[in-house]
């Protein structure tokens, strides 16, 4: 809504125009006169603008006279003026004009006098008059002549509207006269994205570019399209693709048909052929589709351009296109069906022969009216989708177009659905891909025909064909965690059943499906249910020698070896995976698995080398999933190195990509990474709502221990204790899969924080064989939490094994120092300092404790670990106190010793402490004696070596 103009809220994007017209209205009220012509294509908003001005005029008591030209042949001359002047004295003047069959010069004289009478009648009214004449492209010469005559008369604002796309002779000459008389013209332009977003604010933002592109920014079309979306009930949903899916609104179809009717037959053909050609055409297309020679084609294109139906696109002079997609669709939809089919058939042949540019597949789809033409269209679509692998959304659109054809055989439908599913999975749309796979399985897994191909059963698939379709359907969605695996598992089971019956010798396919079955079962049912399937899948794959079979079998084997004891095997599996020639993501998985293993081995430099390789692999693949892996791993390594800001940035990028993959476990993985980041940053409270909103993760013990550690960090001991009880109940029975090590290590820390000796003892025994490893998942690791020895230290601490705890923390400190895992080195060093300080053996090693606490404090301050810094400062204060106590100095002696260290004289000290100098001398002698020093000057050196005394 414009400020101060409450009734013109429909004037989106017309602020400048209504402001100028309002100024004209004000000027007219002041006694000047003006004529303004509003020009633009149909639907651009001329009438809306004129109506808004009329409303403003009436509100300020300016009379408004309105008239409208009519295209009917029998309409009398000056018809718009007859309407405008109805009920006024000037109406009679026009009515008195003689008929047109008299002497021409006399008639012009009469007309001039009548025009002058009208002009005088309208002019000079106090407060002014507004005259609005619409649709002047249909007006007669006299109407426009009277308007020109009136132009500039004091007190009259005349506003005329006309379509810039139509220029009949009367309008052409009338515009010349109006221009000469001083009329001003406002060309209304199309809306931009801003205006479209404003009028379609209630429509999902994803539609806004579609609306703009389809309508060309013509306001009427934008509003019509938005209304169509609302009526179809899809306005709140994102668009399914880049194109407009709901046909041409009736209003536009009518307008377009009317505009076409006004063209010559050749120009009409040219416009139709341009629509068939896909929206852009030149002489080549018109030769093929309308049989027009070059000169005729150029003239036809010029005429269509003059009518605003086409615009020249250049640089070649003959190239013309529709100004917007909706107009093309309207023209195309308005063509007779026979003409459309014949046109597309000719176009398909011309594209195939090279006589015309463009894609044959669109034309083949548009002319698929019988079985052979449908088969040709389907095969063209499959080929086009394969060629468009780099742009999956385009591939899916082409395949869906083929699926929309009626009467496509089931075998072809399966092939199209599977190709679309593969494209959607590559685009990160796992749910959509899985829905298609299920549809294929339902088609292919119907009742068996008696034997061989049996078109009568409706499938058109024989036994091996069914097995192949089911196998392909089961293999599309892979490498994801979460609930999708239940469906994948079902698909794999059905495929294995069919393969056993119809393709028992197809080792490669059986290996692939068995591997997929293994992975899905591990996710959907549990790690312990794998049995011999991974080994069997690998045996079959090796026997087949098929890279794809080996790819899937290696994935299954990797998963089976994901426990902490399988790290060396996983490195070997990863190497073999990375060396496979195909599929294209083999290198991705091989690299990821090497990072997982490098984490567990504490070889961060190896992980960093692999990360660089991962970046190259992700760029080469271009998949959102691959980029997600790269950025999440970059975040994990930054976290381990203590580059916390970089970790946050990489995690943000990864999260954006995760949302595009639709993998729910990807979102959970972000939560797991961020929980640790926030813990190190002292911001654990931020994670509690995230955990509370993760009901799917509640089934996982790794989640319980992670949440417990966070609850401990925020000081919610009862909640942490509840989590510890939850995990203690299952701890001894946890499968030794890829999650075992992080789960047990977090449990150890939880036990230490809550003083649970039993859990601590169990964790200590369970983790001891893995003391040399780092804490990382064995399959799809999220992060690396430093040395297992630190978790062992916590476990020993909980179990009351003080010496062992100190040794483990010292081992952890050494390992994390070697690896450059700064946050974890800080935590180990800090805990070691605290344990040394708490040593009750009689003589705690305060110097070593101080050295550790000092370095921990410096590192914590540098990389931003405020909780660790507070603990380190507290440890240093406690160490200072312990040192002071160890000297045997009384509080007064410590006070005096501190002043001695500052170089103060006895007199100065006596003055400050209000003591006699003799008393101070006695205290100084005691201090030197207790510290074993000979001279007072040595006190400063003692303090420098042992720390402050106060």
């Amino acid at each position: 809504m414009l400020p101060g103009m409450p009734h013109v809220d429909l004037l989106v994007g017309r602020t400048a125009e209504i402001t100028a017209l309002t100024a004209d209205l004000d000027a007219v009220r002041g006694g000047t006169g003006a004529t303004v012509l509003l020009a633009g294509e149909p639907g651009i908003g001329k009438t809306t603008l004129a109506a808004a001005l009329a409303t403003l005029a009436r509100e300020t008591d300016v009379p408004v006279l309105t008239g409208r030209a009519d295209p009917e042949v029998g309409t009398p001359p000056l018809w718009p003026w007859w309407q405008a002047l109805h009920g006024r004295p000037e109406h009679g003047v026009l009515a008195a004009l003689p008929a047109a069959d008299g002497d021409a010069a006399a008639l012009l004289g009469h007309r001039l006098r009548a025009f002058e009478a009208v002009a005088r009648g309208l002019a000079d009214r106090p407060g002014g008059t507004l005259v609005v004449l619409e649709d002047l492209h249909w007006a007669d010469e006299a109407t426009l002549a009277l308007l020109a005559h009136l132009t500039g008369r004091p007190g009259v604002l005349a506003v005329g509207t006309y379509r810039s796309t139509e220029r009949p002779p009367a309008l052409r000459s009338g515009l010349v006269a109006l221009d000469r008389a001083g009329a001003r013209r406002i060309d209304l332009t199309a809306w931009t994205g801003t205006e479209v977003a404003a009028v379609a604010a209630d429509v999902h933002p994803g539609w806004h570019p579609v609306l703009l592109r389809t309508s060309g920014g013509v306001p009427l079309h934008v509003r019509e399209l938005a209304a169509t979306l609302r009526a179809a009930g899809v306005a709140a949903d994102p668009p399914p693709g880049p194109g407009w899916p709901l046909g041409v609104p009736a209003s536009l179809a009518d307008i377009t048909a009317d505009r076409l009717d006004r063209l010559s037959p050749a120009a009409r053909d040219a416009v139709g052929a341009t629509a068939i050609a896909g929206g852009e055409a030149g002489c080549a297309e018109l030769a093929v589709l309308c049989d027009l020679d070059t000169d005729t084609a150029l003239a036809a294109l010029d005429e269509a351009a003059a009518a605003g139906l086409l615009v020249a696109t250049g640089p070649a002079p003959d190239r013309h296109a529709f100004p917007h997609a909706l107009l093309r669709d309207a023209v195309h939809a308005g063509l007779p069906a026979a003409r459309r089919v014949a046109g597309h058939r000719a176009a398909a042949a011309a594209v195939a022969s090279g006589a015309m540019g463009g894609e044959a597949v669109t034309h083949l789809l548009a002319c698929a009216t019988d079985a052979p033409s449908r088969a040709a269209a389907v095969h063209a679509c499959l080929a086009a989708a394969a060629a468009a692998r780099a742009t999956p959304d385009r591939a899916v659109a082409v395949l869906d177009a083929a699926l929309a054809l009626p009467g496509v055989p089931v075998a072809d439908r399966c092939a199209l659905q599977l190709a679309a599913a593969e494209a959607e999975f590559a685009a990160g749309l796992a749910e959509a891909a899985l829905a298609r796979c299920t549809a294929v399985a339902d088609l292919a897994d119907g009742p068996d025909p008696a034997d061989g191909p049996d078109p009568a059963d409706g499938t058109g698939l024989d036994g091996p064909g069914r097995a192949d379709a089911l196998a392909r359907a089961s293999l599309v969605v892979r490498g994801l965690g979460g609930p999708v695996n239940t469906t994948v598992l079902d698909l794999a089971r059905r495929a294995l059943r069919r393969l056993a019956a119809h393709a028992p010798d197809d080792d490669a396919t059986r290996a692939r499906v068995l591997a997929q079955h293994t992975l899905a079962a591990a996710e959907a049912i549990g790690f312990d249910e794998l049995g011999d399937d991974p080994a069997e899948a690998f045996r079959l794959a090796e026997r087949s020698g098929d890279p794809l079979a080996l790819f899937d079998a290696l994935r299954a084997r990797q998963h089976a070896a994901s426990g902490p004891d399988g790290v060396a095997e996983r490195l070997d599996i990863a190497r073999r995976m990375a060396e496979l020639p195909r599929p294209p993501d083999a290198a991705l998985w091989g690299t990821l698995w090497r990072i997982d293993a490098a984490f567990q081995l504490g070889r961060i430099t190896v992980a960093e080398t692999e990360l660089a390789r991962l970046a190259v692999v992700a760029d080469r693949l271009g998949w959102p999933l691959a980029h997600w892996h790269h950025h999440r791993m970059a975040a994990a390594i930054a976290l381990l190195r203590g580059r916390l800001q970089e970790c946050e940035h990489q995690a943000d990028v990864a999260l954006d990509l995760a949302r595009r993959t639709e993998d729910v476990s990807a979102i959970a993985i972000d939560g797991a990474l961020r929980a640790e980041l926030r813990r190190l940053q002292g911001r654990s409270p931020e994670m509690l709502p995230v955990f509370a909103a993760s009901p799917a993760a509640e089934a996982l013990p790794i989640f319980w221990s992670a949440v417990g550690v966070t609850q401990l960090a925020v000081g919610d001991e009862p909640a942490a204790r509840s989590r510890l009880a939850q995990i203690a109940a299952v701890l001894t029975g946890l499968p030794r899969d890829g999650r075992w090590l992080p789960t047990v290590c977090d449990s150890a820390e939880l036990a230490a924080g809550l003083g649970d000796a039993d859990v601590g003892q169990w964790c200590h025994e369970a983790l001891t064989p893995y003391a040399g490893y780092f804490v990382a998942g064995g399959s799809g690791s999220v992060r690396c939490d430093g040395s297992v020895s630190r978790a062992l230290g916590h476990a020993a601490d909980a179990a009351g094994l003080a010496d062992a705890a100190r040794r483990h923390f010292a081992d952890a400190l050494a390992a994390e120092d070697r690896a450059g895992a700064l946050p974890y080195r800080t935590l180990s060093e800090l805990r070691l300092a605290e344990l040394l300080l708490a040593d009750r053996s009689g003589s705690p090693d305060l110097d070593t404790a101080a050295a550790h606490a000092t370095r921990a404090a410096a590192t914590a301050r540098r990389i931003g670990m405020p909780d660790a810094l507070r603990r380190a400062d507290a440890a240093l204060t406690a160490i200072t106190r312990a040192r002071s106590e160890r000297t045997g100095l009384t509080p007064r002696e410590r006070e005096i010793a501190a002043m001695l260290a500052e170089g103060r004289t006895n007199r100065d000290i006596a003055t400050r402490l209000v003591l006699s100098e003799r008393t101070v001398e006695t205290h100084v002698a005691n201090v030197l004696g207790k510290l074993g020093l000979a001279r007072r000057a040595q006190v400063a050196g003692w303090v420098a070596e042992h720390g402050p005394l106060r």
């Binding site: 060396a568 070997d572 293993a597 081995l601 190896v606 040399g772 390992a815």
Partner: protein, 163 residues
């Protein structure tokens, strides 16, 4: 067989079959490496996993390198290191038998750490040997991720040998 590596002023923990007095060349450590038939017990006791005399019998070895893998050494890393010792480094050292006198491989179970002591005729020979090992190509199936290398290497002068 067992071994102990203790400061020279520490009392021998048990009867030794052989004794090597070592003085650190670039540092202050003076230690005695003893080999024992019986278990000497104690925290500084090592198990001798392999004892490979390489040079000619009675050859004088003037220097020793003590190569330490601090630990805790992960099982997979230890396995890879053992394989490297046995299949790649050992044969390379054997090929230099005229200049390398003896190699002891020691393991400490509770700390999961490993020490390799290499005796040689002189320092240049020792360094040549290290360079040779570093230049060896990995064998098929060996993975650099499992071979992190030692945490430190100390060179000693062999000042006395008793057997």
């Amino acid at each position: 067989m067992y071994a102990t590596i203790l400061p020279t002023d520490a009392a021998p923990p048990a009867a030794a079959t052989e004794e090597f007095t070592l003085r650190q060349i670039a540092g202050p450590r003076d230690v005695v490496l003893r080999l024992h038939d019986g278990d000497p017990t104690g925290t500084d006791r090592w198990i001798v996993e392999t004892d490979s005399p390489l040079g000619p019998p009675g050859a004088k070895t003037a220097v020793a390198a003590v190569v330490t893998f601090s630990g805790p050494m992960p099982p997979a890393v230890r396995e890879a290191a053992d394989r490297a010792d046995h299949d790649r480094i050992g044969p390379a050292m054997a090929a230099r038998a005229t200049s390398t006198g003896r190699v002891l491989r020691l393991w400490q179970e509770d700390q999961q750490r490993k020490v390799v002591v290499v005796f040689a005729v002189d320092q240049p020979t020792l360094h040549d040997g290290f360079r040779t090992i570093e230049a060896l190509e990995l064998l098929p199936g060996e993975d650099p991720a499992l071979l992190p290398g030692p945490d430190h290497v100390e060179i000693f002068e062999v000042t006395a040998v008793t057997s």
